[in-house]
């Protein structure tokens, strides 16, 4: 097991920088997600890790070994990595067992040892009965698991996953998320997982690298990303919440209820700091009276099962999102208490 070091890696396609001076230190056995909207360079970064793309600048190390740099490029077949492709990339002319066993064959494993390892990998993903089927006969989720088994079979140093859940329906996604977590717990392999779905990344990863236009926006655990996002852009990308202007605090500071409420009451020209308020930190008081310092009008109500999602409009004209246990009527005036907020860096 070896840690992965990405050091100021840049990839240029012509004039455009798909990845721009990206640096990450991945611990051995860590489950890492590269998260960002489409076109942010996360897939290019993954393909550089695999060795399918060369680097324009920077270096990639695995353990003590230089994988890629300016004058060094270890080809993919010698990196001892494995990958689950978005399309699964199962070879249609081989059976499920042959697909899984192919990496072993390339390592000249044969006979009893070969059979045992293939059977073990298939058992890990609960697909033994399907060993002799052809990949076309399997469902989407089963193909996914075959691709996973093919990754397991050789004990790779790093497993790369390229939006592996993108082609599955919602119910299957939940089940597959669980199997990825099991997979990681059992193998303790270093996993790099590319996705544009923040809830997927939050649910699975130990640490998340949020990327935007080729640059690293923030590199932190899911909890930190949610509670303490660095910039307005990260805050709007991760989780629900509203961004308001206050006359208090500085970037990277947590505001208590009293400070926050006072800062919101200031006159417009003094309110220059952007603060993130998560909906669970808002208390809605339906019988509004002039007694409340902060008041709002209900613009929309969405039923979410366990609660209602309220879209509110503050008197300053800013939008705010909140949760409430019962439905309110649109146009109704309410009073508000905001318990805490997180000050953000302005967007570059």
């Amino acid at each position: 097991m070896a840690g992965l070091t990405i050091d100021r890696v840049t990839k240029r396609f012509g004039e455009q920088r798909a990845v721009d001076a990206l640096s990450l230190d991945v611990e051995p056995g860590e489950f890492v997600a590269l998260l960002g909207p489409s076109g942010c360079g996360k897939t290019t970064m993954l393909r550089m890790l695999a060795g399918f793309e060369s680097l324009s600048e920077g270096e990639i190390h695995l353990g003590g070994r230089l994988l890629a740099g300016l004058d060094q490029h270890v080809p993919p077949e010698q990196r001892n990595m494995a990958m689950v492709f978005q399309s699964y990339a199962l070879w249609p002319h081989m059976s499920v067992a042959d697909n899984v066993g192919y990496p072993l064959k390339l390592r000249r494993r044969s006979g009893e040892a070969y059979q045992r390892q293939v059977a073990k990998a298939l058992a890990m993903v609960a697909l033994e009965p399907y060993a002799q089927r052809s990949p076309q006969e399997l469902s989407g989720g089963q193909r996914q698991r075959v691709a996973l088994a093919r990754c397991l079979v050789t004990d790779p140093d790093v497993v790369l996953l390229d939006e592996p859940l993108a082609n599955l329906d919602r119910h299957l996604r939940a089940a597959m998320e669980q199997s990825f977590r099991d997979f990681h717990r059992r193998t303790r392999a270093t996993l790099v997982y590319v996705t544009h779905d923040q809830s997927e990344a939050m649910a699975l990863a130990d640490r998340i690298a949020v990327m935007r236009e080729g640059r690293l926006e923030q590199w932190a655990t899911p909890q930190t990303l949610y509670r303490r996002p660095r910039s307005t852009w990260v805050a709007s990308f991760i989780g629900q919440g509203s961004q308001l202007k206050v006359a208090a605090g500085r970037p990277g500071q947590r505001l208590e209820e009293a400070t926050l409420m006072r800062g919101l009451a200031a006159i417009a020209t003094e309110r220059t700091q952007t603060v993130l308020v998560r909906p669970e930190h808002v208390t809605v008081l339906p019988d509004s009276s002039s007694f409340h310092a902060l008041r709002a009008r209900v613009e929309g109500v969405t039923f979410r099962g366990e609660r209602y999602e309220l879209h509110l409009c503050l008197e300053s004209g800013e939008a705010l999102m909140a949760y409430h246990h019962e439905a309110l009527t649109e146009g109704q005036k309410v009073g508000l208490t905001l318990h805490e907020g997180w000050c953000l860096e302005p967007d570059a």
């Binding site: 695999a50 060369s54 993919p76 990958m83 390592r107």
Partner: protein, 566 residues
């Protein structure tokens, strides 16, 4: 960048070398022809090109070529678009069989088509004699005329129009038709106001292809025109070469240049139109729009079947009847029926059998060699920058796009003297025909393989690479098995075309080195029509069998590899 592993770069260099050699090999004949035709331009009015351009015969043959090809194109347009519209758009029954029968004339070699039509008409037709309808002896053979040539050219190239139009009809998003229907357009209005305007460019492209194919055709104008003294450019070249031998090579090169330029202009026009026809249609294509024929269905089916009987069944029946009589002009009865001609071909092991053997060797060898080259070539070309890719593709397409006569003249020019350094003389041997076939049919084998490769998800290879497979291992273990059906289909197509080839071999054959196509042509010219008919029947049977093989393979092939399948 320094690569830490040499395997990948070693493979890349080898494949690049192969690609370069093949591209150069494809370009050499055309360049040699250019040099010969333009080289003596300094001689002024004595230069071969000027002499050829001043000869009255050149312009007459050019006009004849133009006239027969244009008339043939019109016939092809009428036949091809009728079948394409009815089969693609309506709910007529038996579509696969109609398509197969309509496509068959394209795959039957032109000399066989010409022979079968000659057996259908004229005073000596055994079929007409058998049913007592033969015109009196001495009356002219109606097909020995410009119109006769045009008719057969039209029938032969109608499938090209059919294919071009069918492709653009199938890619027509059905939403466009449905939107018109829901807006209140009747079936006829949809056809006239939506379908026809959107597929017009497909129609024009098909027409251009039919025109080019008519321009390059040798078998039909040779068998119908030469006896009547009606020469088109390819037959003019053939006739001059046959009479004067290699002494007139320079002039023939100039003539070839003329016809080659004409054909390439046609190709450019056609490609421009095809590009336009593909443009800007969004939505789900690929499904036929079923226009209900209603009470017209019986009548339309009858019309199509009647047409197929007239253009396919009747001439083939005449061919079969001719192969079963003892001599031309004898009606077929139970007393006269004889299998002598077949016995002569198969059992006597004479010149005819030798020709069959030659053609099988040539076609089989060419198919095999081209299959071996196509995969590495297509694999390397797929990784070239787009601009280089299209240049290389044009280069290997050139020997196939040029009329066969042009390629034959170019090959004679290249090999009329022994090859320098090694001193091997190829002129007058089967080797020369083999080389010409390799150049001509390379693209036929290449296209399906390239199509197969481009449909291959690149992650399939990347997955193998990450699993630890080196470049050669990936090529043999992953890529080859996945494109094998396309590769095999390409080889089969090459075999199908090469085994019946006439145009190239008509100029390149020598005694003892006849091909099947040349044999049929010579037998008919020598008055041995019955024997020619017997060989032709065998050829048609073989063509139909190979086409059926390809049809069976079709479900495992990329779209468009088997021309008569969707």
């Amino acid at each position: 960048m320094r690569l830490s592993l040499t395997h990948g770069s070693q493979q890349r260099w080898l494949l690049t070398l192969l690609t370069t050699v093949i591209v150069a090999f494809s370009l050499t004949p055309s360049l040699r022809l250019l040099v010969e035709a333009l080289g003596d331009l300094a001689q002024g009015s004595e230069a071969p090109l000027w002499r050829v351009l001043q000869a009255e015969g050149t312009w007459r043959a050019l006009w004849h070529s133009f006239y027969t090809s244009a008339l043939g194109m019109l016939i092809a347009l009428v036949l091809g678009s009728l079948f394409a519209f009815v089969i693609t758009l309506t709910d007529i029954r038996g579509k696969p069989w109609l398509v197969f029968c309509f496509m068959l004339p394209m795959m039957i070699p032109p000399q066989v088509t010409a022979l079968s039509w000659l057996q259908l008409f004229g005073p000596a037709s055994p079929l007409l004699k058998s049913i007592g309808l033969a015109p009196p002896l001495g009356s002219p053979q109606p097909l020995h005329s410009a119109q006769g040539i045009a008719l057969l050219l039209g029938i032969q190239s109608a499938p090209l129009v059919f294919l071009a139009l069918r492709t653009s009809l199938l890619s027509l998003p059905r939403e466009l038709v449905e939107a018109a229907r829901i807006s209140g357009a009747s079936q006829t209005q949809v056809w006239g106001q939506i379908v026809l305007p959107l597929t017009r460019s497909g129609l024009i492209a098909g027409g251009a292809m039919a025109f080019i194919s008519g321009l390059g055709n040798f078998g039909i104008p040779a068998m119908l025109g030469i006896p009547a003294g009606y020469y088109v450019l390819p037959t003019l070249i053939y006739q001059r070469m046959a009479s004067f031998g290699t002494g007139v090579l320079a002039e023939m090169a100039s003539l070839s240049l003329l016809i080659g330029a004409l054909a390439l202009a046609g190709v450019a026009l056609q490609q421009a139109w095809m590009k336009r026809s593909r443009f800007g249609l969004v939505g789900h294509g690929g499904r036929a729009h079923d226009f209900a024929l209603g009470r017209w269905r019986g009548g339309v089916t009858a019309l199509l079947v009647a047409l197929l009987v007239a253009i396919l069944v009747a001439p083939l029946a005449a061919l079969v009847v001719s192969s079963l009589v003892p001599a031309m002009g004898v009606p077929l009865t139970w007393e006269t029926l004889t299998l002598n001609a077949y016995h002569e071909v198969i059992a006597r092991q004479g010149a005819t059998w030798r020709a069959v053997r030659n053609s099988l060797w040539l076609a089989g060898g060419a198919a095999l060699v081209l299959m071996l080259c196509s995969l590495p070539l297509a694999y390397r070309m797929q990784r070239l920058p787009r601009r280089w890719q299209s240049l290389a593709l044009s280069a290997i397409e050139l020997p196939y796009a040029l009329p066969g006569v042009v390629l034959a003249v170019a090959c004679i020019l290249l090999f009329v003297r022994p090859i320098p350094l090694i001193g091997v003389a190829l002129y007058g041997t089967l080797g020369l025909i083999f080389i010409a076939y390799l150049a001509r049919f390379l693209v036929v084998c290449f296209k399906p393989v390239a199509a197969g490769l481009s449909q291959l998800d690149p992650s399939l290879e990347e997955a193998a690479q990450l699993a630890g497979a080196g470049p050669w291992r990936r090529l043999s273990g992953i890529v080859l098995p996945l494109v094998a059906p396309a590769l095999f289909a390409g080889g089969l197509l090459v075999f199908l075309m090469a085994v019946n080839e006439l145009t190239v071999s008509a100029l390149l054959w020598s005694a003892g080195n006849e091909t099947l196509g040349v044999m049929i042509f010579n037998l008919d010219e020598g008055g041995e029509s019955v024997l020619a008919a017997a060989v032709s029947v065998l050829v048609v049977a073989m063509v139909a069998a190979l086409m059926l093989c390809l049809s069976l393979l079709a479900p495992r092939l990329p779209k468009g590899v088997v021309p008569w399948q969707d």
